[in-house]
Amino acid sequence: MDLQGYGQLLLSGLWVTIELALVSLFFGLIIGLCGASARLSASPVARAIATTYTTVVRGIPELLLVLTLYFGGSQLLMWIASMFGYDEYIDVGQFAAAVAALAIAFGAYSTEVFRMAMMDLPKGQWESAAAMGMTPLKTFVRIIMPQVWRLAIPGLGNLFQVLLKDTALVSVVGLNELMRQASVGAANTKQPFDFYLAAALLYLLLTVATTLITGYLERRSKPELRGTRA
């Protein structure tokens, strides 16, 4: 496989892909936590909003989400801003639109993972924390989160792999990530097979690394398994 000096370009794309995945992961986890809390809340309105969100987002293609936010993101944001009385033009950057699409998709799936994990926790945890005089927020941060985290790691690891692969979709709207750079190399050298194969191997590298890291986190989160090998 001869990349004719475009290897550097691919690596710069790989970097953008990693960046994109990590930033989307961050926002996606926040959305997921909020979503799961809403789905388990006592308020029927919050439950309805969260259920609609996960159902709709999990039912439409990620590509459609990316395209919608890329081509309609500014329009959408300006419409929301106008409800708050702000009527200037707002530009949604390429990277921001991509992160928004990926985070919204990841958030919908992670909502379900967090919800399952939260439901697995005995109710007594909440009750005893309340009896100790902790506020709900403090209970969440100190008691619930550390335990939910443990239960959620395997599921979140799978979702992160899906997210990594979904970052390739962003190339369709021209962000310079791995897939896009591979296309550039393919077009310039007329060797599409070599370049897409190189991209595929780099993606494979990322998914393998993710599997290893998830396994490590999983072992670390279970004291009884610490020191053993997967």
Partner: protein, 233 residues
């Protein structure tokens, strides 16, 4: 924000035409993928490590890389080799339609093979021992016992895979096919109403997904009748 319902109604017939292609892609590659997945899963569940190696590598590659890369590898990649261009395969590999079908089938085969393998391994061991004790040949056992049992076990997981495939089929639009997403993009290029059209396309996807979930639920009731049967009182 100006929201035009009119433009959605005007172009809905064309969107539905795109939805038809989406359904066709999912159905054809779903069936091909299933046909490919069964031997892969059987080989993957084999006791012989040499037999296991190929399906393992295949599944590892197709599950570890983005579908978009796989599509481009086949659609753009194949043209790099003159040998392919001169062979009888070229009329097929030249067509974006067939490239999409090939990529989707191979991709879904990898995921489905893992599901089937898990299902095969979930069959109670006693059932296999009983069929051996009855003197069934290996092939008869696979055909009469293992596959029908695995089909019932795999169905809930497989319905998920089909829904994921429905969503992945949107990638066909990246190689110029006018599926539901591709059609929406074409219409937007003319009308410049991205939010309305993508919204409409999204609703059509949701409707298709809802129908699929229903069909699979009915199928599950049929295949796993024993789980839904009432106890005689």
């Amino acid at each position: 924000m100006s929201w035009e319902w009119g433009v959605i109604w005007e172009y809905l017939p064309r969107l539905l035409g795109g939805a038809w292609l989406t359904l066709e892609l999912v159905a054809v590659s779903g069936l091909l993928g299933l046909a490919l997945a069964v031997p892969l899963a059987l080989a993957r569940a084999s006791a012989n490590p040499l037999v296991r190696a190929f399906p393992y590598a295949y599944i590892f590659f197709f599950r570890g890389t983005p579908l978009l890369v796989q599509i481009f590898l086949i659609y753009y990649g194949a043209s790099q080799f003159d040998a392919v261009k001169e062979s009888f395969l070229w009329p097929v590999l030249r067509e974006p339609y067939w490239c999409a079908i090939i990529a989707f089938s191979m991709n879904t085969a990898a995921y489905t093979a893992e599901l089937i393998r898990a299902a095969i391994q979930a069959i109670p061991k006693g059932e296999i021992e009983v069929s051996l004790a009855l003197g069934m040949s290996k092939l008869t056992m696979i055909r009469r016992i293992i596959l029908p049992r695995a089909a019932g076990i795999v169905l809930p997981g497989y319905s998920n895979e089909v829904l994921l495939m429905l969503k992945s089929s949107a990638l066909a639009s990246t190689i110029t096919l006018l599926d539901l997403t591709g059609m929406a993009r074409t219409i937007i290029a003319r009308t410049y109403t991205p939010l309305e059209m993508f919204f409409a396309a999204g609703m059509v996807y949701l409707a298709i997904a809802a129908v699929m979930i229903l069909v699979f639920r009915l199928l599950e009731r049929r295949l796993n009748r024993y789980q839904f049967a009432k106890r005689p009182s």
